[in-house]
């Protein structure tokens, strides 16, 4: 019996791998098999059938390995209790999570001062943190409230443009503009949310996708206001409590940061300062999310995600509750957007394409919907991985795609899918017993 079963499994696996190899061949033959090369006489076609063969072989062997190997592994996984009961294991997981969060924040704080932290590293870390913050903002909408938003970049754009326009037209500085940009983005969230939040699932996704594109197209076409496709330039940089990060003081202006502190001028100062701003903004986003999850409105978001009809039967107003999620998510997107504008000093509609929305959503989904730590890991992975992939040139995006597929195969619910309850009877009772009577 056992041998027969194993045999049929092997046959099935071989068949499956054959199909996969065939598909790979059909794709690879035209795409990899032929390459146009510029020769002296003009453009000629070179064939690379050896590459095709290698690629097909990799797919065949890989699929076979995947089909034969993880059977026992999957079985073992299924035997684990799916729902971890409150108790020792949950406590251990919580402690690990707390330690990881502490270690992560400490590392983020010392990072710019580590010996290997050059311009490139600090800049890359800043980019990672922007996406962490965007991921955390979108996590409120998608992860907690369960509203699939494919146009989150619209709020990012609103934040960036409100900052740029306010700073240029009204001569406000970064710290004055930041809350206003958040308010504008939240207002747009409410404006969009009000008519569309009665839609569910796929329909909401399509409307938000359309909204994202609308904002981008308005930015391109309203040239007199937004600068059109040329974007907006000379957006003011943030100053360190009034001290600019410049080599020389402007005539009549305040003395620069490095002179005030008696340091040598280094362009790294400003980068490090920007890094700390986004770190602070991201940590605020996180603290806010963790707190609001434990408030009635946060629980109502999760309840709506789980079952809207039951929520309504308990007296939760679905429209208002969803609107708050949308507005708060948008507000954090707006904050991130205004940081982006001040960091770049230049913005154009090209920075706010659908690809950005997709990337942010991928961060939330890969991280595990609703998981704050998951978002950090996924954002780091999705921003840093393409950087490491630079040496592979044209295969960069292939690697990127493969990594995403791998995560979805091994962790279909995201990297960290465990949900931490917002409240525990267990802990309260223990605290009540330990505490003075």
């Amino acid at each position: 019996m056992a041998t027969a079963a194993r045999q049929s499994r092997t046959v099935a696996a071989l068949k499956e791998s054959g199909t996969a190899a065939l598909v790979a061949f059909a794709l690879a033959f035209p795409l990899i098999g032929f390459q146009t090369v510029e020769m002296s006489g003009g453009l000629t076609v070179r064939t690379r059938f050896d590459w095709v063969a290698i690629g097909v072989a990799i797919v065949f062997i890989g699929r076979l390995a995947l089909a034969l190997w993880p059977q026992e592994w999957k079985w073992r996984q299924r035997r684990e209790p799916r729902h971890v009961a409150g108790g020792a294991r949950a406590d251990a997981a919580r402690n690990v999570a707390r330690f990881a969060a502490f270690a992560g924040v400490s590392f983020a704080i010392v990072l710019p001062f580590l010996p290997f932290a050059d311009r490139y590293i600090v800049d890359l870390a800043t980019t990672v943190l922007i996406y962490v913050m965007l991921g955390w903002g979108l996590n409120i909408v998608v992860g907690l409230a369960g509203l699939l938003d494919l146009g989150y970049v619209a709020f990012y754009a609103v934040g960036a443009y409100s900052f740029a326009l306010l700073a240029r037209n009204f001569d406000l500085n970064f710290w004055e503009c930041l809350p206003l940009a958040g308010v504008f983005a939240a207002t747009f969230g409410v404006l969009l949310g009000f008519p569309v939040l009665r839609l569910r699932g796929d329909y909401l996704a399509i409307v938000t996708l359309g909204f994202g594109e609308m904002i981008r197209i308005i930015l391109i076409n309203w040239g007199s206001f937004t600068g059109g496709p040329n974007g907006l330039t000379s957006i003011p940089r943030p100053s360190f409590f009034g001290l600019p990060f410049a080599r020389e003081a402007e005539a009549g202006g305040p003395i620069p940061f490095h002179e005030f502190f008696g340091l040598d001028y280094s362009p790294l100062h400003r980068l490090i300062f920007l890094y700390f701003i986004i770190l602070a903004l991201a940590l605020i986003t996180n603290a806010f999310t963790l707190r609001i999850r434990r408030l009635p409105v946060g629980r109502a978001w999760e309840a709506l995600r789980e079952d809207e009809i039951a929520s309504r039967a308990l007296g939760i107003n679905p429209t208002n509750t969803k609107l708050t999620a949308f507005a708060i998510g948008a507000m954090f997107g707006g904050f991130a957007g205004s940081f982006f504008a001040t960091r770049q000093g230049f913005i154009s509609p090209e920075s706010f394409t659908f690809l950005e929305s997709a990337l942010i959503l991928a961060i939330v989904v890969l991280g595990g919907m609703g998981s704050q730590v998951g978002v950090v890991i996924a954002a780091t992975l999705l921003v840093v991985l393409p950087e490491f992939g630079r040496q592979f040139a044209e295969f960069r995006m292939v690697l990127f795609g493969a990594a995403m597929i791998a995560i979805m195969v091994w962790r279909p619910h995201g990297l960290l899918a465990r949900r931490e309850p917002t409240i525990r009877l267990d802990g309260r009772r223990r605290r009540a017993q330990a505490g003075p009577a």
Partner: protein, 273 residues
């Protein structure tokens, strides 16, 4: 005689050409269990959906007599009906499966907690009055968990509980909204005899202690005949009999509806469910 808690008058619900409920009138009292029975497709769940605002009735008046006065449910949104004291459970259990049992009961106390947190702002800054309100909410939830025998599973995901426990948790969740009228849609479906006896005790306990009105849709006759004070029988959307359980058991119209009628009548319009 105690006054009526709920008056359903001339309720009619049409879906296109199909009349699911046809001129139905009945009343439910506080401190009493009113059972709504009838063959499949008789329109029982439709009555619940009208009462709880999921459907807008085509015709009819649904009056809830509240301490604050009379409320006309047919004019209100579903979530407002829930706020004014009508709680329900669902035929196919609708818990929040990935939230814990305790969280399910805390979500049910959303509106008082929302006010206590000053619509989130007070909660964000950690007002002491909100802390106290939350502690009270947790104590209330724990009390209900104890009453349905699920206190030791408070921190487990609702979706991981056994079926019978989920049914009881859903009733506890509805009770945590502190309703004046509790509508239960087939609470005994899928329960074994021991569990349905427990359910009987729970419902009788609610009737005696909370003195609220319970409206019950049920097929399990041991539940219906054992605990209900008043039975309303529906068939094809019409009320064919109403009265105490003992009288209903002997009613010829009810027996006919359950055991079948001559063939030509079966071809008549079938009510929606």
């Amino acid at each position: 005689m105690t006054p009526d808690l709920l008056n359903v008058e001339h309720l009619t619900m049409r879906f296109g050409g199909l009349t699911a409920i046809d001129d139905l009138s009945f009343a439910a009292k506080a401190g009493a269990i009113t059972a709504l029975i009838g063959p499949n497709g008789a329109g029982k769940t439709t009555v619940f959906n009208c009462l709880t605002g999921f459907y807008k009735p085509s015709i009819g008046r649904l009056a809830l007599h509240h301490a604050a006065g009379e409320l006309l449910l047919e004019q209100m949104d579903g979530f407002r009906i829930a706020r004014s004291g009508v709680a329900r459970t669902f035929q196919n259990i609708r818990l929040f499966p990935r939230m814990t049992a305790l969280e399910n009961l805390i979500v049910a106390q959303h509106n008082p907690l929302m006010r206590a947190s000053a619509y989130t702002l007070g909660g964000l800054v950690g007002l002491p009055s909100f802390r106290r309100a939350e502690d009270a909410a947790i104590d209330f939830a724990a009390e209900w968990l104890e009453r349905v025998g699920l206190l030791d599973r408070a921190d487990d995901e609702a979706g991981s509980l056994p079926y019978g426990a989920q049914r009881k948790l859903e009733i506890a969740r509805a009770m945590c909204t502190r309703p004046a009228l509790l509508c239960l849609d087939e609470p005994a479906a899928g329960l074994n005899p021991r569990e349905s006896a427990e359910l009987n005790r729970l419902l009788v306990g609610i009737r005696e202690r909370e003195r609220i009105g319970i409206l019950l849709i049920e097929h399990d006759m041991s539940v219906v005949m054992g605990i209900s004070d008043h039975v309303v029988v529906l068939d094809y959307g019409r009320c064919i009999a109403a009265g105490p359980p003992a009288a209903i058991r002997r009613d010829p119209a009810v027996i006919r509806a359950y055991l079948g009628e001559p063939a030509e009548d079966e071809m008549a319009a079938r009510g929606g469910g």
